[in-house]
Symmetry: C3
Subunit: 305 residues, 3 copies
């Protein structure tokens, strides 16, 4: 047997969402997305390594599952960096995950403000198939990667090119990323972000600009805070989109161990005229009315293995 | 790597069913349901534990699979008992599994007599999503749990509440459970059951009452026997539903090891006027005619890992 | 925990296919089919063993997956040989895999010449469900197996019977297999094949005859070569179908370790009048025109775990 790690997350909790109408339900992604995966690294000698990573969504609330569409990649790694092939998140999205205090997961997911229409989730730069990626080797705190995905003739929406660069040193973390996806109705996104950790606190700031021909550009600014108190962590975020729509969120996560914790969150969107930005998990009637508000609560347990 | 157990069952055999017409085929659930799963327990210290259990059906005969809809749960366990969240069997069903000599699996599955119409499998209390369960801590042989599932606004058939209590001491095992599921056409089920093990034999007795507004109540009584002879085990059961429809079954299971065995079973339903209760695996033309009989045979191999 | 091996392959690369029109895309099966599986063997004592094998296709390029339809079997093994039940490749197909220099995988897959119409992939003898197989015990280089699959009344295309016998000694390997599948439009296939390894080279020769009532018989002859040079392996094949359509292919595979390698391949079909045999992965417009040619290139990385 070669060395294979079986890993996963089960995050289950209760969520209440109130938009035009309200709903209470069990969710599978309070502070982390439930998943099942397999991964491994092989030392090829001479500084060269090969690795694989297979990871799929897991319906911890309803038992759904079956695909490996969170990530499915094979890598060659060495002094030159890493070449990675397969299906995964693109650079223009990983930066948003990293600088959102809530990791774009759960009710407080900042990417909910990222759409251009302000209604459905049209901001589609997230994961792509048929991806070829190159990651720089670690160089004194500088990191970076470029990703390109083929449309393969029949899937124009998958065609994507993206890049990210960053710098991490002491408590400071700075990063910039850009990407565009699609063919005729190409979506372009650019993000600049930074965070600073001092003592028990980390503060986050991020600016993203999303553009598509024929649509109004959406610029989103967000601030975040994480504050550790023993096994507990307080989190807060505030974000504002073009036009004035806002997302404000607070959360508390208490670790029972390195792998297990409990959490509670509250979040609210407050929309500018005509916009209907909702909270993570909202769709249809649980989204706010045009120009209206939505409020959400979430409590649950997360367990990693 | 945290400690993850990969487990499963492959049960494959040949089955013959004769109702209105007959069929011979390979099945995936002779005496146990084929499955694949992952589970683990983490010690959190201070008597507290966290655990997860993911388990899905496996088509050992045709390679089907992909979901984790046998069970998908995360648990916190301690002196207070266990709180379990996710998708799993409900209390009102686990009692029937435990006191059917054939574990509600294969051709002799007693739950085939549990429907209200006596035709299709309308008795739907089995597994539910969005479940919150609480299990009592072990207290001198007494055990119990309560389960509640949310309909989540859009899935009324998933709305369920159920509870079970039991007592196990020496060879004696007694249990009672009740549950109801649905919203307008709510299905109510109540079961009282007991078993007694003496020497190499265990005898089972169970009474279940299934009700739904506007339909005739179905009361099912069953008796079962398991008798060990070295590595072999003889099993038999007899069950009778309201109106007089009967299920009679016999089986022999021979263990080649703790994990592997071979088996043979024969079962028959004999229906009262108008009823069409069939055997496990029967549907359509392999079900009996109204008031008619059906006969089934099954031989196969089971292997757990 | 019983001993379970988690295993798999991620093979990802870039492929170019040119038929009527051309396409460039990432694939998941350059020299080996991407997959995920679980397997184990249990010693039952007295020379008897039980084993299971679950294996499903993995979309290393797009994250697809979820079923175990490459293989899903349980086995009892002993001095008598092996009885295997479930879903797997049939004898009449495993011989083609073994004597095609490219293992019927990737652009050079010889089975692309095996269809009767010369258009779509109508040659369906590959894997079947509901299979009962018996494998001879090893007897001085002689091996063999017979497979039978039930149509189960509703799936006539699954009804199959097949057998294979072979002899392996020193560098010599000879094998013959036959099978038929279906009910009314039964497809019959017979293959005779041999290979000889001397020094760093192995040569392959194979003859297959595919028949179906009302269609012209297709006889395919193929020759193959594998030549090892240190960690590298050169491969070549040439095949010709009834009517004169040809497939010619060359490849180079370089092992970075026992489990990881990189490869490059080129292949071409050259069709006789009216035929449209395409390369592995081709469909629709990437298939050649009637009587036309198609060319393909593939480079990639393979990683097993």
């Amino acid at each position: 047997q070669s060395s294979v790690t079986v890993f996963g997350v089960l995050d289950v909790g209760a969520r209440s969402l109130k938009g035009v109408s309200s709903i209470k339900y069990l969710h599978k992604d309070g502070v982390s997305s439930s998943r099942l995966g397999f991964r491994g690294v092989e030392d090829l000698g001479g500084g060269l390594k090969a690795g694989f990573h297979i990871e799929g969504a897991l319906g911890s609330d309803d038992g759904s599952g079956g695909t490996w569409q969170r990530r499915s990649t094979v890598s060659l790694m060495g002094g030159f960096g890493e070449v990675r092939l397969g299906h995964q998140k693109v650079a223009a999205r990983t930066i948003v995950d990293d600088f959102d205090a809530f990791g774009t997961t759960g009710i407080a997911d900042v990417s909910r403000l990222y759409t251009l229409t302000g209604t459905s989730r049209d901001w589609e730069i997230n994961r792509t198939s048929n991806q070829v990626s190159y990651f720089l080797p670690s160089m004194g705190g500088i990191y970076g990667n470029v990703d390109a995905s083929a449309g393969e003739g029949t899937n124009a929406a998958n065609k994507m090119i993206s890049g990210r660069i960053g710098f991490k040193s002491g408590g400071l973390h700075l990063s910039a990323a850009t990407g565009n996806q699609g063919v005729s109705a190409k979506l372009k996104t650019t993000t600049l972000a930074g965070s600073y950790a001092f003592g028990s606190a980390t503060v986050y700031a991020m600016h993203t600009q999303n553009k598509q021909a024929g649509m109004a550009t959406n610029k989103i600014n967000s601030l975040g805070l994480a504050y550790s108190m023993g096994a507990g962590k307080l989190q807060g975020s505030f974000a504002k989109a073009t036009g004035g729509s806002k997302l404000i969120a607070a959360g508390y996560d208490y670790s029972l161990s390195k792998r297990t914790g409990i959490y509670a969150q509250v979040a609210r969107t407050d929309n500018s005229a005509g916009k209907r930005f909702g909270l993570g998990g909202a769709s249809g009637a649980t989204a706010p009315a045009a120009g209206g508000d939505s409020t959400g609560y979430s409590v649950g347990v997360r367990h990693s293995f």
